[in-house]
């Protein structure tokens, strides 16, 4: 009996030490932590996917009810925007035709059309200090780390962790996200750095190419991590005069994203390179 009592007194300190050990282990072997997380995510993602359907109906219902209140103004705004866009469509079609004839004369080698795969966003995988989403994939998917996620409007982020049935996409708003971008007006380069807030910041632009308010921002092929020209967002200056980017992608209401395989291996997260080494060793 005394032994048992002593043991029961010791459980709390033992588990306390174990939790600190867990912290060190998670830091020392990032791959193990990642595998454990993705195993949990894999186990839960079918459940989340089943839940996502009815929940998105509820969300759509709520959104529909909110839209009812502003139906009239929204309609007027859309009609006005439609007129404007129709004029732009004519311009775009003319430019497209002109571009095609010019490229034909230059013997331009077209970029290969990237293959893509569409996946449902089943859960928020960010936690308190990160911005990420979890995708549900089929069991025999061909998704790889570093693939680029886009929604219907623009860049969403990149695949950073991969399970057998799920993948985690780090959003461009995450504080660990860095995206090389081009300012479309000045063709200047910059880095888009996430802050965990809704608007990532522009940093490291070259002197003389100050980002202009309202300028479009697209990805740049620098560092071979992204293809050039994917739409990212529009420059907005914050009240403290910091250039930020309002993303085109609707990052707070992602439902479906497309994962593009551009075959770029420029920047692969460290966990992936560790995995590749261990595979090579085998």
């Amino acid at each position: 009996m005394p032994l048992r009592q002593a043991l029961s007194k010791l459980t709390l300190p033992i588990f306390m030490v174990a939790s600190f050990g867990l912290m060190l282990l998670g830091k020392a072997d990032a791959l193990l932590a990642e595998r454990a997380r993705m195993a949990v995510a894999d186990a839960l993602s079918p459940l989340y996917a089943a839940l996502a359907e009815p929940l998105s109906v509820v969300h759509r219902g709520i959104e529909g009810a909110q839209h009812l209140a502003t139906l009239h103004e929204e309609n007027a705004r859309l009609r006005e925007e439609n007129d404007r866009l129709r004029r732009w469509q004519a311009v775009a079609l003319a430019l497209d035709a002109e571009n095609a004839t010019l490229k034909a004369q230059l013997r331009w080698i077209p970029d290969p059309a990237p293959s893509f795969l569409t996946a449902r966003v089943v859960a928020d995988a960010g936690g308190v200090y990160a911005r990420a989403v979890l995708l549900s994939l089929g069991p025999n998917h061909s998704v790889a780390r570093g693939q680029i996620a886009l929604d219907d409007r623009g860049l969403v982020g990149r695949v950073t962790e991969l399970g057998t049935r799920s993948a985690r996409v780090l959003l461009l708003t995450d504080m660990n996200s860095r995206v090389p971008v081009t300012l479309e007006g000045s063709r200047g380069r910059a880095i888009l750095a996430g802050t965990n807030g809704p608007r990532p910041r522009l940093i490291y632009w070259a002197e003389g190419t100050q980002p202009a308010e309202g300028e479009r921002v697209v990805t740049s092929a620098e560092a071979n991590a992204f293809p050039p020209g994917l739409p990212v967002g529009v420059v907005r200056y914050s009240t403290s005069n910091v250039p930020e980017v309002v993303p085109f992608a609707q990052l707070d209401r992602l439902e479906v994203v497309r994962l593009f395989d551009y075959g770029l291996k420029g920047v692969i997260p460290p966990e992936a390179s560790v995995a590749r080494q261990s595979e090579r060793r085998r």
Binding site: T11, L12, M23, V128, Y129
Partner: protein, 182 residues
């Protein structure tokens, strides 16, 4: 119900034992279920903070009122699950929940005598302190100063959530989680 209390009690059948065991396991099962539910894609703003706050409130309540049903291994399990679901550095949630458990064990006798308000105040103080600890550990483990706002928000959320949860948990504590009812 142990052998030291006198009285007439029903025979220990298999069914009764299973019933008692289920009642004993209720706090852990309920906490795990709550952690899983709050990780489902409801797209509530601040859902990750809600998950941590709910786990903390449950562990605190059961550690104060029924520590036998919330032993350190159970606390460890809840913390690990929350960390893995949250994609947080593993161990951070475990440490904070174990500290909450230890504090609850140390003060539970005097706290339960003081009534709800004191228990809640102690919980709020602890939630703020633990949010700071969690923020510090996360910053250390990710080698980056993470924003302090979400930590504060989480502490406030926990403070607000506790009375609501306590009403439900206190009811469960007297009814379905009571092994003596078996």
């Amino acid at each position: 119900m142990d052998d030291r209390t006198p009285g007439i009690r029903p025979r220990q059948t298999v069914g009764r034992r299973l019933d008692a065991m289920a009642r004993w396991a209720f706090p852990l099962a309920m906490t795990v279920a709550l952690v899983l539910i709050t990780s489902a894609p409801f797209r509530l703003p601040g859902q990750a903070e809600l998950q941590n706050a709910a786990a903390l409130a449950c562990v605190w309540f059961w550690s104060v009122f029924r520590p036998l049903s919330m032993p350190p291994p159970a606390v460890f399990l809840v913390g690990l699950l929350a960390d893995l679901l949250d994609f947080a550095p593993p161990g951070v949630g475990v440490v904070t929940l174990l500290v909450a458990h230890a504090v609850a064990l140390r003060w539970r006798r005097s706290l339960t005598r003081q009534g709800f308000l004191m228990i809640w105040l102690a919980f709020v103080t602890m939630a703020i302190a633990l949010a700071a600890v969690q923020w510090l550990l996360t910053s250390m483990l990710t080698l980056r100063l993470v924003p302090l706002g979400p930590a504060l928000f989480q502490a406030m959320l926990a403070a607000g959530l506790y009375p609501l949860l306590a009403v439900l948990l206190a009811r469960a504590h007297r009814t379905i989680a009571e092994p003596a009812n078996a």
